[in-house]
Amino acid sequence: MMAERNASMAISARGLCRCFGTRAAVHDVNLELRRGEVLGFLGPNGAGKTTIMRMLTGNLTPSSGTVEICGIDLLGKPREAKACIGYLPEIPPLYRELTVNEYLRFAARLHRVHSAKIHSALAKVTQRCGLSSTGDRLIGSLSKGYQQRVGIAQAIIHDPEVIILDEPTAGLDPNQIREIRTLIRDLAAERSVILSTHILSEVDNVCDRVQIVHEGRTVLDEYMERLKQKGTNLEESFAHFTKNHATS
């Protein structure tokens, strides 16, 4: 029964803790992502969002707690679990010396996309992220917006079950933000997404559920619909939950 329930979860993380030296950056955080759900992950700077995301993607070992990706234990079977994830870190991990196509082909091979399917996967993802005309350019010569798109493209090229995006719209102009938001909404139609951001309207726009962390703890975990039913504004609750704790 338990296993069945977990298998229907895209991500199930329980009791995540992480200490850096004596400082606890993340303290007993639970995070659940159902399949096909978009979770908005909010919190002030330094709240532990990035730390949590790095633990979910296997980049950081939790001090305690468990992470299951699509029912597979991340610490026990890292390779199988990581195959289900597409991850865009805060700073897109790009090789400036490679062209966009070379880089994406490498990303596909690294994620074990079958060599016969790489060509179609590449065509699909460049079309989706609006990179068709920049395929032969060096990543280092692209603008920030295009680099961000390449970052998203590498996260989705292997068609993962779960997509984790850490501030995908940071530093982009309004048009680019709108394009990327549309892209995320497209992705959300078929996949589960965790979206970390500082822009509250973005969460309002694309997310089904919101989780706010503050000082390494979860302070709010609620469906957007229910928030709207209660008539609470996201901005107010964000200010309420993150200020309150800062003064207490």
Binding site: R54, T57, G58, N59, L60, T61, P78, R79, E80, K82, A83, I85, Y87, P89, I91, P92, P93, L94, Y95, R96, E97, L98, E102, F106, A107, R109, L110, H111, R112, Q154
Partner: protein, 247 residues
């Protein structure tokens, strides 16, 4: 997966001027010394003929060139190993490799293999230089082969050590300087040890290479090189495996 990583390494390496500059400079130095030895040999050849068992061209030209090639590699490998992991860390691409469904062993071995393929090109060029002597004489292929094997092994030692030092740092320059320092230390150790057999001599990389240089492939040397490479590769894997723990 090892080959995928190695392929990427080579692509980035040859995409930068560094690889070409190193190849050109190494070849320039080697050719210079090679020609100097060839010149000396031609000068003393008339006297050599009078000796009962004169040294051949392989012994008097190829072997000294290969001895120098080891020093050239000692100086250049740190430049190449420095960026292996440290630069991935600095450019935030290490998380890209770690998030991918591949093991740390694949990453480390892929990077090592990529670098070894590049170093093999340097060694192949040195070997081609020696083969050019066939135009005017015959070569002792046994001695040449032993030199090539020795050079490959010592290059692998430099590469594995450099790879490990690169795992420890987020600054390519620091990793490069550290590796160069250690390698120079090992070289000095060899000079201090002198000719007599001692414990320092048993631990010196270049002293073991000297045997290969003279055409002696001994199991002690082979075992020493293999252990050296293995230890630093395992240390690199362990260091990167713990990446998420210490960060």
């Amino acid at each position: 997966m090892i080959f995928v990583v190695a392929h990427k390494e080579l692509k980035i390496l040859f995409g930068s001027p560094l690889a070409w500059v190193i190849l050109a400079l190494a070849q320039l130095v080697l050719t210079w010394v090679f020609l100097a030895h060839l010149d000396t040999f031609l000068e003393i050849q008339p006297q050599l003929i009078r000796i009962a068992n004169p040294p051949g061209i392989t012994e008097s030209i190829v072997a000294p060139s290969f001895a120098l090639a080891a020093i050239v590699l000692l100086m250049t490998t740190p430049l190449l190993t420095a960026r292996l992991i440290a630069e991935e860390r600095r450019n935030h691409t290490l998380s890209f490799l770690i998030s991918a469904p591949i093991s740390i062993t694949d990453i480390v071995l892929g990077k090592f293999l990529g670098l070894m393929i590049f170093l093999s090109v340097v060694i192949a060029l040195a070997a081609a230089l020696s083969l050019s002597l066939l135009a005017g004489g015959t070569l002792d292929f046994g001695l040449l082969l032993s030199n090539i094997i020795g050079l490959l092994l010592i290059a692998a030692c430099f590469a594995s050590l450099g790879l490990y030092i690169s795992c420890l740092s987020a600054q390519p320059a620091v990793a490069g300087a550290g590796t160069l320092g250690i390698l120079l230390g090992l070289w000095v150790m060899d000079n201090v040890a002198g000719e007599e057999d001692g414990i320092t001599r048993s631990f010196s990389l270049l002293a073991h290479y000297e045997n290969f240089n003279r055409g002696i492939i001994d199991t002690f040397g082979l075992a020493y090189f293999a252990l050296f490479i293995l230890i630093f590769l395992i240390l690199s894997i362990r260091r990167l495996d713990g990446e998420g723990l210490y960060d």
